[in-house]
């Protein structure tokens, strides 16, 4: 009889855990899926030196929503426009209390010319919050592979400029690619809403 009661207590504890787990999974799943975004697959990992003297590894950013884009500092038009848009997005997210939940990675497509000093100067000129934004560089073949993994092509022109498409990839807390924003004319409020939905979740609501 005592043994039977003991087994029942164990079952009760297990059942309680199942209840809690089930409810949390249900709620967090429901909230996370509110984004309506696709799950495009695990974002390819990368490890790149950054302008701050450290290393930016995507896997280390697990738990945050990560935005990855590509640029170069001498870009006369599109890159500064896109970076500026993203800097404003970052600013809004910080104001909304999500500054610690989101991380930006900008990878240069001109590693031969974009020194750490130039990248840092570029970051300063764009008024980005450096604690949650890395400007990454690397060997040309390394950059080419990372860019290809994220659907970005680039090529150096005879003029010395670099031609590339604009694509900002949004990665969720679990490292899954969820959406890509093409170009630089997208609605920043839509991007902020997507990030908020991905950064949200049941546990954040407690």
């Amino acid at each position: 009889m005592i043994q039977a009661l003991g087994k029942l207590r164990v079952w009760s504890v297990l059942a309680g855990l199942l209840v809690a787990g089930g409810v949390i999974t249900l709620l967090s799943g429901a909230v996370a899926d509110r984004s309506g975004l696709a799950r495009m697959g695990q974002a390819p990992d990368f490890v790149l030196p950054n302008a701050g003297g450290g290393t930016t590894r995507l896997a280390d950013l697990r738990g945050k929503v990560v935005l990855v884009n590509f640029m170069f500092t001498k870009c006369p038009d599109y890159c500064p426009t896109l970076t500026s848009v993203l800097a404003n997005v970052q600013d809004d997210l910080i104001t909304q209390g999500l500054g610690d939940d989101v991380y930006f990675v900008s990878v240069t497509v001109d590693p031969a010319n974009d020194t750490a000093e130039l990248l840092n100067r570029y970051a300063d000129s764009m008024y980005v919050a450096p604690e949650s934004w890395s400007f990454a560089t690397g060997a040309p073949d390394q950059i080419e592979q990372v860019a290809a993994n994220y659907g970005v092509f680039f090529r150096r022109l005879a003029s010395g400029s670099v031609e590339h498409n604009l694509l900002t990839t949004v990665i969720d807390r679990d490292g899954v690619m969820r959406v890509q924003y093409a170009g630089e004319r997208f609605d920043p409020d839509e991007l902020i809403a997507d990030i908020r939905n991905l950064a949200g979740g049941f546990l954040r609501l407690l």
Binding site: M1, L5, L8, R9, W11, S12, L14, A15, G16, L17, L18, V19, G21, G22, V23, I24, T25, L26, G29, A30, A32, D33, G36, L37, A38, R39, M40, G41, Q42, Y78, A148, G151, V152, F153, E163, N165, L166, L167, V176, M177, V179, Q180, Y181, A182, G183, E184, R185, F186, E190, L191, D194
Partner: protein, 341 residues
Amino acid sequence: MTFLKQLTSRREFTLGAAAGGAGLMTLGAYQTDASDGELETQSIRLIRDRKFPVLCYAPQYVAQRFLELEGFTDVQYVSLGDDGSYAHALVDGTADMSAALGVDWVPPIANGDPIKVLSGLHAGCVEIFANDNVATVQDLQGKRIAVHGLGSPERFLLSSVLAYIGVADTDVEWVFAHPNDWAGMLAGGKIDAMASFPPLNYILHDEGIGHVVLNTTTDNPWKHMFCCMVAANSTFAQENPVAAKRALRAILKANQLCSEQPEVAAKWLVEEGQSPTIDYAMRTLTDLPYDTWDIFDPEDTLRFYALRMNEAGIIDATPETIIANGTDWGPLNEVLKEMKA
């Protein structure tokens, strides 16, 4: 007491099991909302008409680099047949996927041919040029209009325009000629009107040949719908759903590049021999609304053209039948969730 404990335990167990099960089901559903699988084929054939280059399909040509990034190692651009029909090239399996005038896809779908329209590409691009005998589109009745053939895209487009204004396409005289000859025929008085696409539009404008009586980029109702739409051979789309979706994604990324970075796209079009000059390419890319792919409803466009084709007596099928049998919005709906612009 024991009974109560047992009851509580059972209730807890039941609730826990139910909630846990539901949680696992949720988790399962979450995980099955999966990413792309492996490409079923790394080869894809698109269409490039080198005999009569049409620049409004620019995203299709620019897409080559994006197709490679999507994993296609063998990207081919095949030529059109002598009839100039993009639809026929898809139906006979010469090509797997292509952009063409939306109206061009309607008759073969009505005929039961294996074509699935996947997405709109952009609005606009067609101008109807005419000589001094024609002041407005209403004046086209009874006039001589150049087309490649009765099954050609421009004939279907012109018939739909005529149907829209209440003119039977049997009330015009179709003059059959290769598109490269139309401008000379219009200038020489051998025809009264012709439909034109970039870059031919710009040549006509620059050389002062004819005047425009309809511009689908700026005139109602055409400016509110797609002009060019992407379609695939049905068998290709059904047997290679991942490839079809990724190819569409590549074309739509290229579309966005044409819209937002036209000078990059224009340079490629010239390098690849698709545009004779950078000027023509730039004018095409800046004049046409390439940023409408995620705004307009492609079904509206097909419905409009199916109605006009029906009114013109070219098809018997209803718009509902065309949409039911000849569309697959699955890949587009996936891309719309993955890519924003």
